[in-house]
Amino acid sequence: MKLIAALSLTTALFGTPVFAEEITVGLAGPTSGPQAFFGTTWHNGFKLYIDKLNAAGGVNGVTVKIDQQDDQADPRQGTLVAQKFCDDDGVILGVVNFNSGVAQSTLPIYEDCTLATMTFGSNPALTQQGYKFMVRPVANDFAGALLPAEYALQKLSAKTALIVNDKQVFGQGISEIFGKNFTAGGGKVLDTLSVAPTDVDFSAVLAQIKSKNPDVIYLGAVMPQLALFAKQMHEQGVKATLMVPDGGYTPEFISQAGQANVQGATVAVQAPPLDATPAIADFATQYKAKYGQDAGPYSIYGYAQGQILEAVLKSTKGLTREDMNDALHAVKADTAIGVLEFDEKGDLKVAPSYLYKVDGDKFTLIGTK
């Protein structure tokens, strides 16, 4: 409300809306604590694109300043960060909420202060609650788990699957959806086993799995567990095909697991092949050049969110929070992970999904939807 009052005051004084030369975008995620790796590399992807954007003079002269904040993947910290962005009238867009849990507690705050956000949490429930100021530029878990189930049933002729998840929002959610799709398609889920999110030793679980002899194993977890599991699976002589969600779409998946251990594993992700367009091929090299290490599992999404922001800035009527929200919901952005548009709930209209197979030290596209 304060913001609107301030703006109407400016309008009254100057007659026409004043466009600032620099806007601020709130960027929040876990940059310390156990999930620091995900948050930092995701943020780096975003910053990489924004720095490029600013270096090129911004969009119509408007440059972007990033207010990066650490939410430690903790809902309580998340609310503080959200309120900080809300209180800062300069912040007109949020790139936030790496974790669905953090999103659940911050979305009401962003809604209250009419600050539009690109939310990262992929739990389907987030967009079902009627929030008007959020979009989710990543596929929700429904999309992420459909393709692998189809592939397993049709291409691999799998009859039985075994699900392992890390009992976290993402891992459990996406693996449940895989299970439903797999069962609906006529397959049989032999068992669902849970591991702790901090586990690194899966030998005991794997020994049990071995005795059940499933055709495929769906692993709902994140890095580095995906790589550790793949490695130990091979070492323990489990023959099933391993299927993992998008966290595995990173060279680290292959290098940490050991190339030989991870051959044939499938990864479902929203991103097209890295060599699909020159821009994406660029991304990986640019990232490495700038940060001195390979892109993290979610860096590409950060990069794409930068591209969405660019598109929004190009199309927005003004630089108020409301304008940005309208533009964000109406945007059609051509990004590294495809053309993205949002429906009225804020979900992607078309959530592209690509399925890759590890082949040598590369990911080979084996299916798309």
Binding site: Q69, P75, L80, C86, G101, Q104, S105, N123, Q172
Partner: protein, 331 residues
């Protein structure tokens, strides 16, 4: 003798000024905070919740001398009690105050259930077992999906309201917390001054000698566990009502450790110490936000330095609230 008297008088005068200064600052801060931007109010709310938790845990650690590393379990019990009874989860929407009463009862029962098996243990064994209980509760919450929503947690909790007044915005929660913190602090302070509080102190100092003067240490310890758990549970209810979302992430082991640290750094066994400890461990990271991970490093090093410089905490055990008030009137 006369020189002693003057020095005492001088100390008193200095003490009076100090008391006045501390109390005036506190009152000013309490009144000014709700008029600051919401971010500051939310930070203050977080601080107040931790102070509440600190007051609760201090009963067991500071008064009774039992090292409890699983305190977060009660916090979780309270938060989930609210979440289950005031959310779409089971479509139950009980009034806030009723839930506070229920949560207090559930907290007390949990406290006694936890207390019973660990009563005979002491020191480090007690620490690891309470830690284990904290973890057990968290793991169970994370896995009882049908009840607690599992890792997804429970969202869209009801707004709290008392007598038709809605308590949802940061400033409203702030005033709720101010009232509760003061009420609980006064209650606990009176408890400490009561015969039960003295018995806790005796158990802390020498458990066997305490038995020797006729103290039923089992009951006294259970009373400490139950009271502390009740306060933790009430803090959980307010946390859930202000966050309007609960998930197991908020109740990790680190939270228990954080509260213990707060108590020890601030001054063990002392309500004022808890406030100082909470201010250091909760506010400092917020103030230093822009330094990202460096602030955590700084916090770690600061912890070591503070503990080495003042092993029993910043505020001495004897410098309680009554000293402040007495100091104010020069008595």
């Amino acid at each position: 003798m006369s020189s002693v008297d003057t020095s005492v008088q001088m100390r008193m005068r200095g003490g009076r000024l100090l008391s006045l200064l501390i109390l005036a600052t506190a009152v000013a801060l309490i009144i000014v905070t709700p008029f600051l931007p919401n971010y500051y109010v939310r930070v203050a709310n977080g601080l107040l919740i931790y102070i509440l938790l600190g007051i609760g845990l201090n009963i067991v650690i500071g008064y009774a001398g039992l090292l409890d590393l699983g305190f977060v379990a009660f916090y979780a019990v309270g938060a989930y009690t609210y979440a289950l009874l005031a959310s779409p989860q089971f479509d139950l929407h009980l009034p806030f105050l009723l839930i506070v009463v229920i949560a207090a009862a559930v907290g007390a029962i949990t406290g006694i259930l936890l207390g019973l098996p660990v009563l005979k243990m002491r020191g480090d064994y007690l620490a690891i077992v309470t830690l284990g209980f904290g973890e057990i509760i968290r793991i169970v919450i994370n896995n009882l999906d049908w009840l607690t929503g599992g890792p997804k947690g429970i969202a869209r909790l009801d707004k709290a309201s008392i007598a038709g007044i809605e308590l949802a915005r940061p400033t409203e929660i702030y005033w709720l917390l101010i009232v509760v913190v003061f009420a609980v602090a006064i209650f606990v302070w009176r408890m400490e001054k009561s015969i039960l509080g003295k018995a806790w102190a005796a158990i802390r100092e020498d458990q066997d000698a305490a038995r020797g003067i006729g103290i039923n240490t089992t009951n006294a310890k259970l009373a400490a566990f139950a009271t502390s758990a009740t306060i933790g549970s009430i803090a959980g209810v307010i946390f859930a009502a202000s966050q309007r979302f609960v998930s197991p992430d908020s109740f990790a082991l680190q939270e228990s450790v954080l509260i213990v640290l707060m108590i020890v750094i601030g001054g063990i066994g002392n309500i004022l110490g808890i406030v100082i400890g909470a201010a250091i461990l909760i506010l400092l990271p917020e103030v230093l936000r822009e330094f990202a991970e460096w602030r955590i490093l700084f916090l770690g090093l600061l912890m070591i330095v503070l503990i080495i410089v003042r092993p029993a905490g910043i505020v001495p055990r004897t410098f309680g609230p009554e000293k402040l008030i007495r100091g104010l009137f020069g008595k």
